[in-house]
C-alpha cells in the first residue's frame, strides 16, 4: 500500500468530500473531515520520510509512464508543502467547529465541510502533481471551492469580494493555461520534468520566453504578488473566520510553490534566474509589496483587513528570496512559507476568536480587551513578535536567511530594507497591542471571555510552533535547505 500513498492522500479527501455532499449531516461530516485531515497528515509525514530515505517518488497514474500519462511526483519540497497544508487543514478544522456553527446556516454546514475537503484536495493536488495541465485542473478545484467558502461570509461584501476573486483568479488561471499551451506547442509534452529537459534547447526562443511570462503573471495573480493583490484583502476580510484562517495559511503558498517549481525545475535556475530579467523584476516588486502592504496595513481599522495587507507584505518576503539567486535566499523563502503559514494562521485564528466573543473585528471596539481575553491577546503578542522577527521566533529565522541571501547577493541595502520593513510591522502590530492593553474598556461594555478552549488550544498549538521552530530549526530549516539545494542543484 505504501507505494500508493501519493495518490491516496489526494483521493481520500476527494471521496470524503463527495460523501459529505451526500451525507449533509453536520456531525458526520465534521468527524469525517477530521479523520481525513489526520490521515493525510500522517501520509504526508510518511512520504517525507520515504523521500528522505529513498529519493524522489514518482507515481504513474493509470499505469501510464510519465510523458504519456499523468505523473505524481513527490520530492522534498513537495512533501514539505503537503505536511504544511494537511497540518493547517487539520488544525483549522478542529478550531473552526464553533465558528462554523455561528457563521454558516444550519442546513449548509455539512456541505461546508464537503467544500472544505474539496479545497484541501485541490491544494494538495496542485502541489503533488508533476503534470502542468493537471496542476491547472486542481487549481480550479481549489479555486472554485474557495470562491464558495469566501462567499459564505455573513457580510454581503463577502459576495462582492468572492466575485472579484473569481474574475481575477480565473484570469490568472487562464494566463497560466496560455503559458502552458505555448510551452506545449514548443515541446509537445506536458510533464514538468520532460518539459524542463525538452525546453533546454529552446529556452531563448520567443515562445518559451512568452510562455514563461504568461505563467509568471498568471501565478502572480493567484499568489497576490503586489500590484496584482487587489482581490486578497477583501476576500480575507469578509470570508468566514475559519475559511480565512485556512486560506491565509495555505492558498497563496501553493501558488508560490508552483511558481518556484516553474522557475527552478521547468525553466531551470541557470536560465530563469541567471539569464533573464525575472529576478530583477521580482526583486523590485517584492520590495514594493513589503512596503506597500505593511504601510497600508497600518491604516486599517478592520483587523482582518490589516492582517490581509500584512499577508501581501509577507508574500513579498517570500518572493524576495527567489530573486536573490542563492541557496540561502531560497532557503529563507521556503522556510518563510512554513513560518508565515504558522504565524498568519495563528493570528487569523485568534482574530476569529475575538470576532466570536466581541462580535466585531474593528480596532476601535477592541479597546481594553487585553485584560478580559488574556490568552487571546498574549498569543497575539507572541505571534506578532514573530512577524516582527524577534530572535527566538520563526520570523527571525526566515529573515535571518533572507538577509544572508541578500549579503551573498552583495546588497547591503536589501538588509537595511528588511529591517525598516520590520519596523512597519511593529507599527501595525503595536497599534493593536496598544489598543488592547492600554486603553480602557468603554463604560457599560459587557464583560468578555476568552473564546472556547478548543479554539485557543489550536491557536496556541501554532504559536508554540512559532517558538519551537524558532529555536529548534532542524525540521523546517533542514528540509527547506535540502529542498533549496535540490532545486538549484538539479537545475538543468
Amino acid at each position: 500500500m505504501l507505494e500508493h500513498f501519493p495518490v491516496l492522500i489526494i483521493i481520500i479527501p476527494l471521496i470524503a468530500g463527495a460523501l459529505c455532499a451526500l451525507a449533509r449531516n453536520e456531525v458526520v461530516c465534521w468527524w469525517l473531515t477530521f479523520v481525513v485531515t489526520v490521515v493525510c497528515f500522517v501520509g504526508a509525514v510518511t512520504m517525507l520520510n520515504l523521500v528522505q530515505d529513498g529519493g524522489t517518488i514518482s507515481y504513474a497514474m493509470g499505469g501510464w509512464l510519465p510523458p504519456i500519462g499523468i505523473e505524481y511526483r513527490v520530492d522534498l519540497l513537495t512533501a514539505y508543502l503537503l505536511i504544511l497544508i494537511s497540518l493547517m487543514a487539520g488544525i483549522v478544522h478542529v478550531y473552526g467547529r464553533r465558528l462554523v456553527q455561528v457563521e454558516i446556516d444550519e442546513d449548509l454546514r455539512g456541505w461546508y465541510y464537503g467544500m472544505y475537503l474539496l479545497c484541501f484536495c485541490g491544494l494538495m493536488g496542485i502541489v503533488i502533481t508533476g503534470d502542468a495541465f493537471n496542476a491547472f485542473v486542481f487549481m480550479e478545484v481549489s479555486s472554485l471551492s474557495m470562491y464558495v467558502l469566501i462567499a459564505l461570509g455573513r457580510d454581503k461584501r463577502a459576495l462582492a469580494a468572492s466575485f472579484q476573486y473569481l474574475i481575477m483568479g480565473t484570469i490568472g488561471a487562464t494566463m497560466y493555461v496560455i503559458g502552458v499551451g505555448l510551452l506545449y506547442i514548443q515541446t509537445g509534452t506536458l510533464n514538468m520534468i520532460d518539459l524542463g529537459v525538452r525546453l533546454e534547447s529552446h529556452l531563448t526562443e520567443p515562445t518559451a520566453i512568452a510562455g514563461m511570462a504568461f505563467i509568471i503573471v498568471g501565478l502572480s495573480l493567484k499568489l497576490a504578488l503586489f500590484p496584482l493583490h487587489l482581490w486578497l484583502p477583501n476576500a480575507y476580510a469578509y470570508a468566514p473566520s475559519a475559511t480565512t484562517a485556512f486560506i491565509a495559511a495555505t492558498a497563496t503558498k501553493v501558488s508560490i510553490y508552483l511558481l518556484a517549481r516553474y522557475l527552478y525545475t521547468v525553466f531551470g535556475f541557470d536560465f530563469a534566474i541567471l539569464s533573464t530579467p525575472v529576478p530583477e523584476v521580482v526583486l523590485v516588486v517584492s520590495i514594493a509589496a513589503m512596503f506597500a502592504g505593511s504601510f497600508i496595513a497600518i491604516f486599517q481599522d478592520n483587523i482582518k483587513r490589516m492582517l490581509a495587507y500584512s499577508s501581501v507584505a509577507q508574500i513579498g518576503y517570500i518572493t524576495l528570496g527567489f530573486s536573490l539567486a542563492s541557496i540561502d535566499g531560497l532557503t529563507g523563502s521556503l522556510v518563510h512559507i512554513f513560518n508565515h503559514a504558522m504565524m498568519k494562521g495563528a493570528l487569523f485564528m485568534l482574530v476569529g476568536g475575538i470576532a466570536l466573543q466581541l462580535g466585531s473585528v474593528r480596532l476601535k471596539d477592541m479597546a481594553g480587551i487585553g485584560r478580559e481575553m488574556p490568552w487571546t491577546m498574549a498569543g497575539f503578542v507572541i505571534a506578532g513578535a514573530s512577524m516582527l522577527g524577534v530572535p527566538g521566533t520563526v520570523g527571525f529565522v526566515s529573515k535571518w536567511y533572507l538577509a544572508l541571501g541578500a549579503l551573498e547577493f552583495g546588497a547591503w541595502w536589501i538588509v537595511a530594507l528588511l529591517v525598516i520593513s520590520s519596523l512597519l510591522v511593529l507599527a501595525y502590530m503595536g497599534r493593536v497591542v496598544e489598543v488592547a492593553y492600554f486603553r480602557p474598556r468603554p463604560d457599560g461594555a459587557a464583560t468578555l471571555q476568552d473564546p472556547p478552549k478548543i479554539m485557543l488550544l489550536m491557536a496556541w498549538l501554532l504559536i508554540a510552533g512559532c517558538v519551537y521552530f524558532g529555536i529548534s530549526t532542524d525540521f523546517t530549516l533542514g528540509t527547506a535547505r535540502d529542498a533549496a539545494n535540490a532545486l538549484i542543484g538539479t537545475a538543468p
Binding site: V7, A21, G62, G63
Partner: protein, 139 residues
C-alpha cells in the same frame, strides 16, 4: 405555465429523441465523437426543455430533485471508485488493465465505460440541479 398546443406536441416528440440521442452519444463515444460529458449536457438540455414547457411541478415529478442532487457526488464517487477498485486489484490508480489482467483491452473497455458513466451522472445531475436552483430562486 401556459399550454401551447404546438409546443406541447413538438416537445413531446422531441424530448424522447433527445434522450435517445444522449444515450447514443454516451455509448458511441468509443467510436465516434462524444462521451459522458456531451451526453450529460444533451440529456440535461432535454430535461430543461421539459421543465420550460410542462412547468416545474411536472418536471420534478419526472426527475425528482432529491435523486438528482444525490447524483452529483455519486458520479464522482463512481469515477473515484473505479480507481480505488483498480488499486485493490493490484494496479495503479485508474489502471483499468487491472480489471482483467489477462485481456488488458477488455479491462480498458470496462474501465472507460464505467468512468464515462460516472462523468455522465455528475454532469447531467449538476446541470439539471443548477437550472432548478436558478429557477426556484426566481419564485
Amino acid at each position: 405555465m401556459k399550454h401551447h398546443l404546438i409546443l406541447l406536441v413538438v416537445s413531446k416528440l422531441l424530448i424522447p429523441f433527445l434522450l435517445l440521442f444522449a444515450f447514443y452519444v454516451q455509448m458511441h463515444g468509443d467510436f465516434g465523437p462524444g462521451g459522458g460529458f456531451q451526453a450529460g449536457a444533451i440529456a440535461a438540455a432535454a430535461i430543461v426543455l421539459y421543465t420550460l414547457i410542462f412547468g416545474r411541478r411536472a418536471a420534478e415529478k419526472a426527475v425528482p430533485p432529491r435523486i438528482v442532487e444525490a447524483g452529483i457526488p455519486l458520479g464522482v464517487l463512481v469515477f473515484a471508485g473505479v480507481g480505488v477498485a483498480n488499486l485493490l486489484m493490484g494496479g495503479n490508480y485508474l489502471e483499468y488493465n487491472a480489471f482483467n489482467p489477462a485481456h488488458p483491452v477488455e479491462g480498458q473497455h470496462l474501465g472507460i465505460i464505467l468512468v464515462e458513466a460516472g462523468v455522465f451522472i455528475t454532469v447531467f445531475c449538476t446541470l439539471v440541479t443548477i437550472f432548478n436552483t436558478f429557477a426556484r430562486r426566481g419564485r
